[in-house]
Amino acid sequence: MAYTEERTQMSLLRRERQLRPDLMLVIPYLLLSALGLVMIYTASAPRLEEAGLSPTQELEQQAAFVLVGFAAFAIVSVISLSVVRPWVPALYLGSVVTLILVLSPLGSAVKGAQRWIQLGPIRFQPSEIAKLAVILGLAMLLSAAARPMRWDRVARAVLIVAVPAVLIFLQPDLGTMLTFGFIAGVMIFVAGATWRQMAALLVAGLVATVAVFQAGVIKTYQITRLTAFLDETSDVLNTQYNQFQSQIAIGTGGVFGKGLFNGTQTNLRFVPEQSSDFIFTAVGEQLGFAGSFFVLVMFGLIIWRVLVAAANARDRFGQLAAAGVAALVAFHVFVNIGMTIRVMPVTGLPLPFMSSGGTVFVVMSVALGMAHSVWMRRSPLVGERTGGDS
């Protein structure tokens, strides 16, 4: 009937504008960010104070980024991904260009790694943005995949990942490069690759790894970093100093932790890089297993909700993008926390929403926002009948 059609049409628009946020996603996001700020404060304040600076300096800096991130999250959540879709190729190319620029004299090196670009007062990491670009790019490519997936699409997918991955590897940034591999694997799998194709990807990945090691492209320190954590007896104080100290710190946390500012390792600066890569150490030491468990649960919730969003996505593009986001967050969480307890090698991956760092937080927020956007536009919309496809 005309009335019903109109109503349907109207409501469709209105329904689209009706926000159905996922609190189970938003609340852990907010909680983790808040906890992250607190941890950054406890880790940085003693050091800053001793140096005669304001103890809240780092906290304030990160808080500013957090607010920007929150805003980004909110904005991206509301934007429909289909709006973004036409811009994806440009975004991807732009990302590759910035990655090349980073390697050029324009890029700045920090701690021996060529990872940043300084644009006036703003300094950002192109590799972080590349994560988004690759997720979107892969989503776009794979969303048109046939069933069964054809090999040429697999090859193209690999190419899309490989180009930025190699550029990142040359910075050198091993950890981020591996992230891309993981994300690509998950997304290709979710897009419908056959087992044989997955196997081929796995083999190709292994071969590439071996080739890279053999070609001596990886610097020795990177290899030592990777293998050192496996060797209990090797010179602890040099190569694995950070990890060793981190594990000790977390271990001494006990069940309920030593309490804020009572972490001797944290507060006596035994764990270097504590605000950034080793932020989880602060949690483990000060808040004990209770705190660690809480963080794990929060991340678990986030990842689960993102996967649910993927399952209920309206289109394949959204589904794949969300799957990519889940992989992004999960890989970071697993590698970062694993690193602090010597289950994984030191790779320099930050902990999402908690590690200090502006670009990282904003990018992660945007990624989460994308997943949230997929959720909010999920099928079926209010009043819509399901099409019966699954």
């Binding site: 998950v186 799998f189 271990g251 390792q265 600066r269 270097p272 794990l296 990842i303 799957a323 992989a327």
Partner: protein
Amino acid sequence: MIGTWRLAGVGLVMAVMLAGLGLRLWAIQVTETEDYSAEAERNLVRVVATPAPRGDIYDRNGELLAGTKASLAVVVDMALVEDDFAEDLAQRLAAFLDQPASEILERFDTANSGAQLILAKDLTERQALTLVEHREDFPGVAVIPQPVRDYPNAELASQVLGYIGKPSEADLERPGVKGTDVVGKAGVERFYDDLLRGTEGEIKYRVDATRSVLQRLGEQESEPGDNLILTIDSGIQTQLQESLKAGLELARDLEMAERTEALEVENVQTRLFLAREAAQLAAIREANERRAAAAEAGEDAIADEDSLAIEEAGEIDEGEVLGSLYSGLPIDENRVCVPVQRVEVGVGSRTLLSGMTERTMRLDAVLENGTQRVAVVDVDGEQFEVEDGDTFASTLRVIAIEQEALIVSHADKWCPVRAVGVVEDPNDGSILAMASYPSFDPSAFVDGLTQSQWESLGTINAFTNFAIQGQYAPASTFKVVSYVLALEESIYPLDRPTGDRIIGDGESAADPAAEEGQTEVDVPEGEETPPTTQPPSDEELQPLTSDTELYNCTGSLRFRFNDGSSQVYRDWKRNGHGPLDLHGALQASCDLYFWEIALRVWNERSNEAGINNEDLWQEWARQFGFGTETGIDLPFEKPGLIPDRQWFRDEQRKGTGRVRSTGPWVGGDLMNAVVGQGTVLVTPLQLSNGFSAMVNGGTLWEPRVVSEIVNQDGEVTDENEKATLGTIDLDPDTVRAIRTDLQQVVNGPIGTARSAFANFGPRVASVGGKTGTAEIIKAEEDVQEVDTAWFVGLAPVGSPDYVVTVVVERGGSGGGVAAPVARQVLQYLVNGESFVTPLEPGERAD
């Protein structure tokens, strides 16, 4: 939509990953949390060791012989040196300390990250100040006063004191010894190392990650080592060392004088010519024999081979032929002989070999022959290809062949090598002085010797304490043992007017002629045919019954065998001494008298009615401590050797070459032993201790160099009291007799040391002693003798307080060289320093 299952699968994988993390966190934070607390605690506490000063060593009068001084050292704390700054720091330190930067960097790289490296010691105050003022330029570097061993008297008593150095593998196994410590390596420093070291202290700090000290947690003070009080008297020690040095120089001067004299008499060229001729004749004879054998076998002889062999035979080794008269033997700048010199020459270069006639040595090449290196070297035109350990060019022996260099020792085996002395108190076994010369300064070890310093001192064995480590044939000084045996057991020689004897066949009392140069066996010239009168055989002779009965000490003792051959043992005095009793025999050091005692023991060894004890003499010798270590509180002491049948057989079986390869222990071996020749070996300390026991009435002391151990506050924590090894049951008459006879050796008309003590000064009558000259004929080389000179002196002879033992290796005669050295020391002891007169050679009397 497609993929829900896949998503579920991905979700499952991620869940598992998270669960894994959760489990590990549980393990670390709940189950194992205790272990981590302990680790964290360790992180927070830093322990700094504070070194303990080493104990001091004093002489008996309280004079400091070894102490500790503070030296400012540059110490780098590796924990504070950041990796990227290390190279920079190394460069700056290199410039400041004048050390190569690469070395410093290497030490950085190989050090533990928590180690504290000592880069330099003995900084001046100014250097220390500079470092402290500019400490920002040298992060992790501190100036710390380090205790350092100091020997204020340089070479005084250096062998007794010993030296310190880095610990060996064995040392590291001792409790409390670390790789960075120093330990005693020789002498008292080594023997009492555990007491001298003290205990390290430690300071515990609570620190943070940058090693900034937050809090001092506690301190345990270091305990300094205990001090040692030695029995050594510095005055006597100084005199002994000076006299030994002068004595060795005298011996070398005498040796040079002898050679010069001999050269005037001998025509060296004639000698060489004759030697060459003899060698060629021998080669020709051999060639003829070969030809004859070949002819017999029906083959053609090879003429060329023969003529080559004959020519080669003519190329004799001059050094071998001329012996000590060879002009290529090494000498020093005063043209006096030198026992050994270390010579190094690089590939392509040449060096001069010292000698009355200089030679040039040129190293042409070093070849690698698998694992061995071969040096191609030219000496005055003659080429040699030598490997490690080879001897060549008469005087040279290869010590080492390096890639680009050859190191040899240039040696003179007839030049007096060293002088060793001991002064003992026979009333309690304390050692008042002990030294061997050439000596060394232990201070050199404190900072570490250079390679060449180590090698030069090592080549002359300066570090070895020959007073306890040198084993020598005691020669005539050993006659005192048979003397005591004679008196105590009433065993005197057979009454023999002519000094000849007959042996039946099947029994030889003496060694087969000229076997491995064991004993001096010499057929006197001009006496090829036996005399017509047969001397009485042993069965017919009667032994003398008392010590005062006279025996005819002729110049030689001849053994005749039934097959007509004969063997002669010569006294050191060619024409003999004439009739002497036991006392005269000791004073004049007559060999025959004591040989006869040996022969009696030997002949009656199985005679139940007679002596009935083959080892009687050995038993007496061992009672006086010979053949066993004295147990003095110094390391590396040697036991010496008293040979007997059992030992002889063992040596033959082992094939060591020290004894003849066939035939059992026989009477001739005992004869040699009784006069301290042959295979008998004693250390100077053993001889001193044995003599002490004889002259003090029979108490064999355990000698000691340390009398007390005192802690830093001066309290005596331990006493090393005098101790005895045994008591010998001696008749007081024996003791009196030996004192009298020893006094007569120095003062009596026939005494062998009379001329050496001629200008002694007052109270010479209170001095006694015994000379000894040991003839060494090396078994491997059939060469001339190089005699070891001995003298054991004592004063005051009635109740001795001092026993002075001197031995000069290759020194010549006991009376000529060793006695004057002892004389100087005795002058000091008996009359005081002002009565010490310069050394002069004594009469060449045994």
